[in-house]
């Protein structure tokens, strides 16, 4: 031991407390970083759920509606055309008048009628059309309340406030309180939010058409960006000679990841709509634009995944006489799959939440009808969020949050699926 410099042990011991302190700090910093991310996520969810959960309930008012045959079906033939033309909103208005017979002046009636959603009549109409037997009967019906009433019941409008500072007049408030007193006001599950398309009446507005639009768009995006992205990555990583051409491709890919998404919208407008003649507002165009946008993300991640497969695997496969193609498809690709999936998920998540490029290709639009194919006009969930966020009606605030919640729910489902997939692939070897 003589040649060992003296005091090594002592010197190590000297610094050891400090080093452990640093170790602890470093570890805490790491934990802190994770917590920062998680805290924000938690905070987001907290705010969103706080703002949005009420949108899943909708105020209804119980009315005794008389579906008098004279009004609805004067011919008495139960002809669908005739039934469809009848004034159902009028029927509901009559019910309101019957409930509050004291109200007579024109202005007061207007205010009274405003308690019920303009959409209530349409719902009654579809009820009657699906069951013409209802004609002539008197029903006790829960009709959708107007958004202002809904906001009042949910406590977003201050009842004590001065009349000029709320959307509900004093007399309306009086009627609502009467209705509340006899149990004719209740909050029920808002199924319209999930089943109907957009509407300018918040109480009738739903996300279904946007969900379907997003679904078609993501379908197109996934179907194109995953195979093309993976194929590109394989080509660049495994086959391409290292020359100027592949350099060019590589620079291009990195660069495309940096191009602002709205510029992709410009490209989509010029290429797919003006040159290829695809229709505006169609999910297929949105999908194509988002494909171009997510491709770089997928490619970069897929290349990183391929790169991380140890060369020994390739050598082993080549060693038993597999061709290069076989080596890649049978051995390298399955191993790189988890990484590729991660990248694809990040890309798809980005695509799912993207709204700026859709602005240019006509998807920031008012779409009521649910699209039936990727070629029908449609909007997307984030665009719906954006549009609702810009709507003057107060009731859209909670609906905006609720729509974001739905969007996030989809995202969580996507991530969960990816995790399951990843696990399966990881177990395979």
């Amino acid at each position: 031991m003589s040649s060992r410099p003296r005091g090594v042990k002592e010197r190590v011991a000297e610094g050891i407390a400090r080093r452990y302190r640093r170790e602890r700090n470093f570890r805490l910093a790491g934990l802190g970083a994770v917590l920062v991310g998680m805290t924000f996520l938690g905070f987001f969810f907290y705010t969103l759920i706080g703002n949005g959960y009420t949108a899943f309930l909708q105020t209804h008012i119980r009315l005794d509606v008389e579906l008098s045959a004279d009004v609805i079906d004067p011919d008495g033939e139960r002809d669908v055309q005739a039934l469809g033309r009848a004034d159902y909103q009028g029927v509901i208005r009559n019910a309101l008048r019957a409930r509050f017979p004291d109200v007579t002046s024109r202005n007061d009636l207007r205010e009274l009628f405003a308690l019920v959603s303009p959409g209530a009549g349409f719902e009654l109409r579809s009820d009657v059309l699906s069951d013409p037997e209802l004609v002539g009967e008197a029903l006790s019906l829960w009709v959708v309340a107007d958004d202002d009433v809904d906001m009042l019941i949910k406590g977003h409008i201050d009842r004590a406030a001065d009349e000029s500072q709320r959307r509900i007049s004093d007399s309306q408030l009086g009627w609502i309180e009467q209705l509340e007193a006899d149990g004719s006001v209740s909050r029920r599950f808002n199924h319209r939010f999930f089943t109907s398309g957009d509407s300018r009446d918040p109480e009738m507005a739903g996300i279904w058409s946007a969900v379907v639009g997003s679904f078609f768009m993501l379908l197109v995006t996934l179907a194109l960006s995953f195979p093309i992205g993976v194929a590109t990555a394989i080509y660049l990583e495994e086959f391409a000679p290292k020359n100027r051409w592949t350099d060019l491709i590589e620079v291009n890919i990195n660069n495309l990841a940096a191009v602002p998404s709205i510029v992709f919208g410009l490209l989509g407008l010029a290429l797919f709509i003006n040159i290829f003649g695809l229709p505006r507002s169609a999910p297929v165009v949105g999908g194509l634009v988002l494909t171009l946008m997510t491709l770089p993300v997928v490619i970069i991640a897929a290349r990183a995944a391929l790169m991380s497969v140890p060369p020994s695997i390739r050598e082993a496969a080549l060693g038993v006489g597999a061709s290069k193609m076989q080596t890649i498809f049978h051995h390298v690709m399955p191993l790189a799959m988890p990484g590729m999936l991660t990248g694809t998920i990040i890309g798809m998540a980005r695509a799912l939440g993207e709204s700026a490029p859709l602005l240019m290709i006509g998807m920031v639009a008012f779409i009521v009808d649910v699209p039936e194919s990727p070629l029908d006009p449609a909007t997307a969930l984030p665009v719906q969020v954006y549009l609702w966020a810009d709507s003057p009606e107060r009731a859209f605030v909670e609906r905006t949050s609720a729509a974001i919640l739905v969007l996030l729910a989809f995202l969580l489902v996507m991530n969960a699926t990816a995790i399951l997939l990843r696990k399966r692939y990881e177990r395979r070897w």
């Binding site: 920062v36 970069i300 995202l411």
Partner: protein, 445 residues
């Protein structure tokens, strides 16, 4: 038509399945399958492209001469009406006899066309299948041919990126050139003032209109810089913690959770930045006696930083995991603590990959639009003070494009010029970054 396509697709797959029953190894199967599918598919696609035009000509030919004298565009509308009729949609007005005749012609033509293409595709598919089938013999190097085809497919896929770039370049170039006819490129590139307050209506001449892009780029850099200051440490430390310290349960929970951050719509972040962070910073600043704008670069940057955390963490996590265990063992074997090992061995080894991830995140920050649209405001101040309001290139592009002004005014065209400039700038940055990373890699691999 869809039904026909569906039937076709099924028949085609049926024939393909039949082929793969062939007793020779799969490569021969693939070879025959490719030969069977590709020509038929190509033909089918070609027909799909040609068919609408063909039917259109035929249908329109049945219309009376008076109708045919209409302009091409108006004919298109008439034709649309006919097709609405055929598809059972609601039509404009009562259809007259000519339209009805044309509609029935349309229907019959379509039927013939579908039948025809089905037969032709089947025939071509079967013929080429037969041909390929006959060529299957021991001497045929099927594998090489199949693999060659696949390599071509792979190569074709990789050119999509090139075409996208060219497409983007072309789609902004022409409008940008029109802009440069109105505003000199020198003023645009080096002007220190951005104030597109030119009038919307022609009788309102004279407002100041300055189109200097420097403040926009400075603002973009400031906000992205702040975002990177948040995202890089947090993202990197998260990646390190999750890949080196956390046990597998924590990891499998936290990693996807962090990835969710990347999926939150940017609109939501925008609201958060504009309504929560902005005012908070403002109050905080006033408490300290600082004048903080409620649209401060700091607010937008912070929130954007949160958004891009997963871009840094996810990719860093992957490259950190790819660092071989031997290096860790080597370091631990010398008595290094875990943090020393990470800082001095793992990070340097993973650096090229991490830099790649950071560059990607930086790109995302520069190109991010919605957050800054909502939180950063539009005031083009040339400042390095993060407490002041700045604007970014993307904000201006959006604002200019969705504005109410006339479409060929300098204001709108400026958006294209900005897009072009941004595109070129990021291209240059990427070329430089690629060089740097590559040099680093060559040194240590």
């Amino acid at each position: 038509m869809t039904v026909a396509a569906y039937v076709l697709g099924r028949r085609r797959s049926a024939t393909t399945t039949g082929v793969s029953f062939h007793s020779l190894p799969g490569y021969y199967g693939s070879y025959v399958a490719i030969w069977c599918a590709l020509p038929a598919l190509a033909l089918y696609c070609l027909w799909q492209l040609v068919e609408p035009g063909f039917i259109r000509t035929q249908v329109l030919a049945t219309l009376p001469a008076a109708t045919l004298e209409l302009s091409e565009a108006e004919l298109g509308l008439v034709y649309n009406d006919i097709r609405n009729l055929v598809e059972g949609n609601i039509v404009s007005g009562e259809p007259n006899d000519e339209i009805l005749a044309a509609a029935s012609r349309y229907t019959s033509l379509q039927r013939i066309s579908n039948l025809g293409i089905t037969l032709v595709v089947l025939l071509v598919g079967l013929t080429s299948l037969g041909w390929a089938f006959r060529r299957v013999e021991p001497g045929l190097r099927a594998r090489n041919k199949v693999e060659r085809t696949m390599e071509v497919v792979l190569m074709a896929a990789s050119t999509v990126a090139i075409f996208t770039t060219i497409g983007i370049f072309l789609s902004v170039l022409f409008e940008a050139l029109r802009f440069f006819q109105q505003v000199s490129p020198l003023e645009f590139l080096f002007g220190l003032s951005w104030s597109p307050q030119t009038a919307i209506r022609e009788d309102q001449v004279g407002s100041s209109g300055a189109f200097g892009a420097v403040p926009l780029f400075a603002g973009t850099l400031l906000i992205s810089g702040i975002a990177m200051l948040v995202a890089v440490p947090v993202g990197l430390m998260s990646a390190i913690y999750l890949s080196e310290y956390a046990n597998s349960q924590v990891r499998s929970f936290a990693k996807p959770m962090l990835e969710v951050l990347a999926g939150i719509p940017t609109v939501v972040y925008g609201y958060f930045a504009a309504l929560t962070v902005g005012p908070l910073l403002r109050q905080f600043g006033e408490g300290l006696g600082l004048g903080v704008s409620s649209e401060s670069a700091l607010g937008a940057g912070l929130v954007m930083g949160i958004m891009i955390i997963p871009f840094v963490s996810s990719l860093s996590d992957d490259v950190i995991n790819a660092v071989p265990q031997e290096l860790r063992d080597g370091s631990y074997g010398l008595g290094a603590t875990q943090s020393e090992t990470i800082r001095q061995v793992i990070l340097p080894a993973a650096l090229p990959g991490i830099v790649g991830g950071i560059l990607l995140a930086a790109s995302r920050a520069i190109g991010e639009t919605m957050i800054v649209v909502m939180a950063a405001g539009l005031a083009a101040n040339l400042t390095a003070n993060p407490l002041e309001a700045v604007t970014t290139v993307t904000v201006q592009i959006v604002t200019l494009l969705v504005g109410d002004q006339e479409f060929d005014s300098a204001k709108t065209l400026a958006a294209f010029a900005l897009g072009l400039l941004l595109f070129v700038t990021t291209l240059l940055l990427n070329i430089i970054a690629l060089r740097v990373v590559r040099r680093y890699r060559e040194q240590y691999e």
